[in-house]
Subunit: 336 residues, 4 copies
């Protein structure tokens, strides 16, 4: 039996913990969350896990791995505690809003060699994965243009925005990761424009709600991202990979399969709402892969280095947007 | 130069005459329509044709072919006049509402060997034609189930209904023809149900506005037709051919290419409205084929025998609906 | 806690039992299946249920309900045992291949008043349900034409065919049920044609693999079903409801959301494969409704009378196909 | 009668001249093309126009308007001759590859007040026009993000590339124009990246074949363009306008309406090929509008100022790509 502990019984921690616990070879031992809640209690009840403090986890040598899904400001410390305890970990993105700290944590993980998987679930979605595999296989020809859409169904609460690190670190980071994943190489330049077109309160909180980003890769290929905090039709999460021999689209997944025709035309359902539902398969596959990593040492699709590089792109995008200039990513680039 | 005359300057005669006249090798000499109208004048003006009486056409030996697109009750007589004059003809369906007369006319044409093309324009539509060719080529495998939808955008005026011969002879006849065209064999049984669900005035005029028909072919394959006089979204003209190796759909052609997404979902355009617009390509291709027949003797896709057999199926469907029984089509079957 | 027993640990029994056991208020007490199998063992292990014989279930007064998902030839007896024990039941269709027995069982259930839910899961699929609700609400206008497609991805083993009661009782019965569910009234006439176009072994076993069926309702509305044992692209399960004000389609649910464009065109995924996967939501919703019925007495969407009437239509279709005649359903119609 | 002359009997001149000549109130008097060709002869034959030299046109006071569709390097001179003669003109884009000359010509036209319509046919396409009108009407809410795809089906001959002024002036200029048309305001910044990923010969000729461009508008809204010289599936010409209340897509128009389903999935037709076919409606509408301008003085949807501003954006994109920097468009910006 693989024994696990989860940090954080909030929205995403709850999903990960239940997915892990549903696997036949897994026992969820501990739930760590300082704030009592119905969800924390429910998670413990459903899985038979005990609610404990962090110390109890790291002092229990029988724990095979930890799922870090607590608030972002605790990630770095928990990763370092896992490294110290030699416990393998799955960690939600981002690692920290402080990029210097991200680089230090990444260095510590690498140095210690502690197995670490990062929560870029889109890599585990069967659709994105099929695109990656088809490109990697050579069937599609060279990927020349990548166009990604990520639009939330509606703006998050301003309180969330304030703690989020901004739209690039919080939301667009998945697209930065996907760009690297599909291109199979690093990014050379980043250019970002952004503004507050949807919700003035987000602007007052110092963030943006609408952005467009252009990346060029080391070998000279091209990426466009368009991101925002509201699409009128719901969650918009799509991708277009124009390759030399074919184009691959990942389309939205509709809520239902009913189409209605009237004099106005034919109306099909809006997309599934929201990432927890849209990526339910991917979240399940992540826990399967995490347990596989614990059992066999199999490399996950996203590791600490991927977290570091995706965030480097987010930092570069922030600098580009703030200065109005293109950022060229030299080796080890960091924001000032 | 190929010299033509057109009988009938109404909706469909106007389309055929202009399409023919637009061909480089064609001269439209005469327009015959007993009723003066702006459209008759316009047709003559645009093509340089003269407005004459029927006699003038058949006494002019330079006329290579006639387009018979006058009212249905004149078709049989004009065909017989063409046969007598030895003039090749294109004739709109149906040949006559009187099936006995249809068989006599068909016999006369066959006996005389006068070239004759029937106006089943759907055979010339590039989409239906591609389906036929793909099936004929063997790529699709055996056609097992054919499902056809023909629904008008809105009921015709009751005056039209009264003269039309009823929905089976007037509208469904195209589907009967398409069934024979795609199956590549004759029909063995016909079963039809129908009623008046849309417009009570149509019922008072002795016709139906909604029907479903089942055909079985001589070799035991299956056809479903559903027909009506109104689809809430406009003209519905589709086909599904389930074959052993693939399924082929002819879908509606949307009015435009704009799709609108909102909280209600994604709405794309209703179909093109109506047969004159939807089948514009097919009508043009018909005149090309007619002229080709006149020049080279090339067989058209639909001849007199096709008109006869499609109408036999319409007659059988009427008998089936009226008796509530299945009609078995023995050799030379005719309604009583 | 609601205590349940399941009869049958095969494909569908396994699904129902796990879905029921996953509900917070349910305890699966017993699994009854005379044939030892890995799946039977797995089901017991996952749910904590005991493997027992039928007697143990009906002599345990704490059992609130039974799930009858054993082989068809045991359904009738188990229903009668449930009635005798006064235990509420969920029963898979069909009730029996012997229609006389079906009517007797239905009468016994009705007389005793034992709560009984029938396994027409399509009624619980969110898509079909939305269509039903939209029609019932009046938004769509009167349903005039209903067209249904049910095509298996590939023919079942001949051994299955022999025990199945034939394609109409085994497969098309869901469409017969859906016709009644969406029309909201009974059927007046049934006409069926069928043959063996796909797999000659099915024909040798006395069954058909391809059929088309036409129904008319008491008030004169129309239904077409086309059914077969193989669609080249996979499981085909669709519906079109043409109503006076709009048309409603339930479309297939694609396997994935990737579309690939090349010189050949744009290719999207084939449908989900197969009913267990396609109707996963519906099967879950069925168990929720069954438990709700046990707790509150809430009427399920499909009861014993629905099972009886759907099967009556299957019997009429068999008679129609065998005689080549239309069957008129007078009150209490039964096959000879 | 409106009397017209056409300069250029090449691909697009031929289309414009035939469309104009087909209008009932138009007489095409002259065809001017220094190079004898079958197409020039055919155009004269079909329209009854005479083949003359340019002088003959400008010295004929009965000419109401000229269609300038000759090679790009002759546009500026012909415009100035039209201005001198006081003859209204329709001119294909671009006005000149020399931006300084474009500004001079634009100034001359404006000063003289000679009516002038520019050949941005996409403004006349019913789909793009519907998007514009829906946004202008307020129904869609504020346009926030505009994403445009323009991809040729295959790279043009290198000889064409060399004379074309480069992909931005030749192809992307339509997207620059569309951005201004849909935003309804001017552009503030331009950022472009490009490279040669498809055809090395294009690179050797000093041009690019793949590019991505980001625009921001004066009021802070965002535009992405992705352009290239080859899409594996054919001509890709799409647009997505994300507005506050809805999103509007202009999708590709498929070649046919046949969909084929097999085990690989469902394949629908690739797009119509190529701009002459895809924009046939738009080209017809352009000539209708040109003649309307000649008759009533009605403003065309695109005038000289639009040609100037679209080309300014193309020039800015070239500078941005060459310098790797963002170009800020101050009043009257010009390339050095």
């Amino acid at each position: 039996m693989i024994k696990l502990a989860v940090f954080g019984a909030g929205r995403i921690g709850y999903v990960h913990a239940l997915n892990a616990a549903a696997l036949p070879s897994v026992k969820l031992e501990y739930v760590v969350d300082p704030v009592p809640s119905a969800q924390r209690a429910d998670l413990a009840a459903k899985t038979g896990a005990r609610i404990v403090e962090a110390d109890a986890v790291f002092s229990d040598p029988s724990i095979d791995g930890v799922i870090i899904a607590s608030s972002t400001d605790t990630h770095a410390e928990l990763i370092l505690l896992s490294v110290a305890a030699g416990t393998a970990m799955f960690c939600e993105k981002p690692i920290s809003l402080n990029f210097k700290l991200v680089t230090e944590v990444a260095e510590a993980v690498t140095k210690a060699g502690t197995p670490c998987m990062l929560g870029f679930q889109r890599r585990y979605d069967p659709n994105f994965r099929m695109v990656r595999e088809r490109i990697q296989s050579g069937v599609s020809g060279v990927l020349e243009q990548l166009v990604m859409h990520t639009r939330d169904p509606s703006p998050p609460p301003v309180e969330y925005v304030k703690r989020s690190g901004g739209m690039f670190r919080d939301q667009a980071i998945h697209d930065f990761d996907m760009a690297r994943y599909l291109l199979g190489e690093e990014i050379r330049t980043v250019y970002a424009v952004g503004g507050c077109l949807i919700d003035p309160e987000i602007g007052q909180a110092g963030d943006i709600d609408t952005a467009m980003i252009t990346l060029t890769s080391k070998s000279g290929r091209f990426v466009q991202m368009n991101n925002c905090r509201r699409a009128p039709f719901g969650y918009d999460q799509r991708l277009e990979a124009l390759c030399a021999k074919e184009v691959l689209y990942v389309e939205n997944r509709p809520k239902d399969s009913v189409m209605i025709g009237s004099a106005q035309g034919f109306t099909s359902a809006p997309p599934m709402n929201y990432f927890i539902e849209r990526f339910a398969d991917a979240y399940r596959a992540e826990m399967v892969a995490f347990v596989e990593m614990l059992k066999t040492g199999a490399e996950p699709l996203a590791g600490m280095a991927d977290g570091l590089e995706a965030q480097r792109l987010a930092e570069a995008a922030i600098v580009s947007m703030q200065t109005g200039k293109v950022v060229e990513l030299t080796a080890g680039w960091q924001p000032d």
